[in-house]
């Protein structure tokens, strides 16, 4: 991330890849930088229209990133068009932020990584921290000059994405598999997060042998990420995960696990972490597949 030249905080310096995280001060200073594109991605898909960081473009996780008819992501051609429309070139530093502790920002960053976009960062604390600090938001949608983004040769599904069959192997072989949902979802008492309609999944429970660590344990109350030492103690100490072993993370549809994927990959430097985006809405609904409860 060569364009980032600033006095990095002591907290960030400790992370395995400090180049992929910036703070609100940095974003405020660089929001007009032509080498940088600020991208807002939210669960509340109308929130961008209420107010956003000046110059930030909006990427809607459903409309912009999902295929219309297959449960899958857009293809490389559509990704190139999406980037072009939003003024993103192959060397543009994309800084993601959003609501819900950056779930969807991490998810969109992860999708950008699926297409091999290398210049990426998360704004620590996301939209809530920006607003809590009383920083300026605007209503007018950004309209950056269009670019031509080269169509990626492939999607990096094998590198950072896990499918059902691969997750099944991890389950059967008792490899590092982390369920990041709430306690109630993991135990099978509910099928969606608390405070959401309980819909979309027939069975409650978790993938056999998955260990449980809610995504929220990696976040502070102000929505920022916890420090390197705190994260290391949690994932490598308490959960005894090995940084060198392959890891698969999952949740319900892949957004909360994107948060944990980001933490393990970039903040702690785990060697190979994949996000099982089919997650519980696939596993919990699939015919003939075992689950565990409790």
């Amino acid at each position: 991330m060569s364009v980032v030249e600033y006095e990095m905080s002591a907290k960030f310096k400790q992370y395995a890849h400090p180049e992929v995280i910036v703070d609100t001060d940095w974003v405020d200073a660089h929001k007009g930088d032509p080498k940088v594109r600020i991208i807002e991605s939210n669960e509340d898909v109308l929130l961008y229209g209420i107010g956003h960081i000046s110059g930030a473009v909006h990427i809607d996780w459903r409309r912009d990133l999902q295929d219309d008819v297959v449960r899958d992501y857009i293809n490389p051609e559509r990704f190139a068009k999406l980037c072009g429309k939003n003024g993103i070139g192959p060397d543009t530093l994309c800084v993601f932020y959003g609501d819900k502790s950056n779930w969807w920002a991490c998810y969109t960053l992860w999708v950008f990584q699926l297409f091999g976009h290398k210049q990426i960062a998360i704004m620590d604390g996301g939209r809530d921290k920006w607003l809590a600090e009383g920083r300026l938001v605007v209503k007018e949608a950004a309209s950056p000059e269009k670019t031509i983004y080269p169509v990626p040769s492939k999607r990096l599904d094998k590198e950072i994405r896990s499918f059902f069959e691969e997750t099944l192997v991890f389950s059967e072989r008792k490899k590092q598999l982390v369920d990041v949902r709430s306690v109630g979802e993991y135990k099978g008492e509910i099928t969606h997060m608390p405070e959401y309609p309980q819909e979309g999944v027939l069975r409650g429970g978790h993938v056999p042998h998955a260990i449980h660590c809610p995504w929220s344990r990696a976040a502070n109350t102000d929505k920022t990420f916890k420090s390197y030492d705190e994260l290391k103690q949690l994932y490598e100490g308490e959960l005894a995960l090995n940084v060198k072993d392959e890891t698969i993370v999952y949740c319900r549809i892949g957004e909360r696990s994107s948060h944990t994927w980001f933490v393990l990959t970039y903040l702690l430097g785990f060697k190979k972490v994949r996000n099982y985006d089919g997650s519980w809405t696939e596993w919990g609904n699939r015919v003939g597949v075992p689950i565990e409860k409790g």
């Binding site: 509340d44 898909v45 109308l46 229209g49 209420i50 405070e195 309980q198």
Partner: protein
């Protein structure tokens, strides 16, 4: 059959492009404070709670006039989603002045015509939440009237 004002709103939204639809929903969401109850205001029935499936508390306040026409006020917690805020304003505007029975008999299919297929897919249950709560408080009101 939709009450006149609600029918106009539905038809207006149906004429919108997806972009206009989103902009209008945001505008309605931003008006939601207009429908908050005033401190000194009195109501016939109030239903203030935070349900499991909603991100924050939603308070419904209902007045029923002698001609059985209903008037809603709604107070939303700060974490309520934009779409739910929009539905609160829109339903207050569209239903205030309707007969109690008209609200109870409303078919819910009109919600999808307002929200549109794209947003409906994202939150297919959430969009019905405010209407369900409105019908709920009307149902309680009707049964109390019957008992009284």
């Amino acid at each position: 059959m939709l009450p006149e004002k609600l029918r106009e709103i539905v038809e207006l939204f149906e004429s919108f492009s997806e972009e206009e639809r989103r902009e209008s929903l945001i505008a309605y969401a931003e008006q939601s404070k207009q429908y908050e109850p005033l401190e000194e205001e009195a109501f016939d029935l109030q239903d203030i709670r935070k349900d499991e499936e909603c991100a924050d508390s939603v308070g419904l306040h209902l007045k029923v006039k002698e001609d059985r026409r209903v008037y809603f006020k709604i107070k939303l917690g700060p974490h309520v989603q934009t779409l739910t805020r929009a539905m609160a304003s829109l339903l207050c505007e569209g239903l205030n002045g309707s007969l109690l029975e008209e609200v109870l008999e409303l078919p819910q299919e009109f919600i999808k015509r307002i929200v549109g297929g794209e947003l409906y897919r994202v939150r297919s249950q959430t969009v019905y939440y405010i209407l369900t709560r409105m019908k709920g408080i009307c149902r309680v009101c009707k049964s109390r009237c019957a008992v009284g």
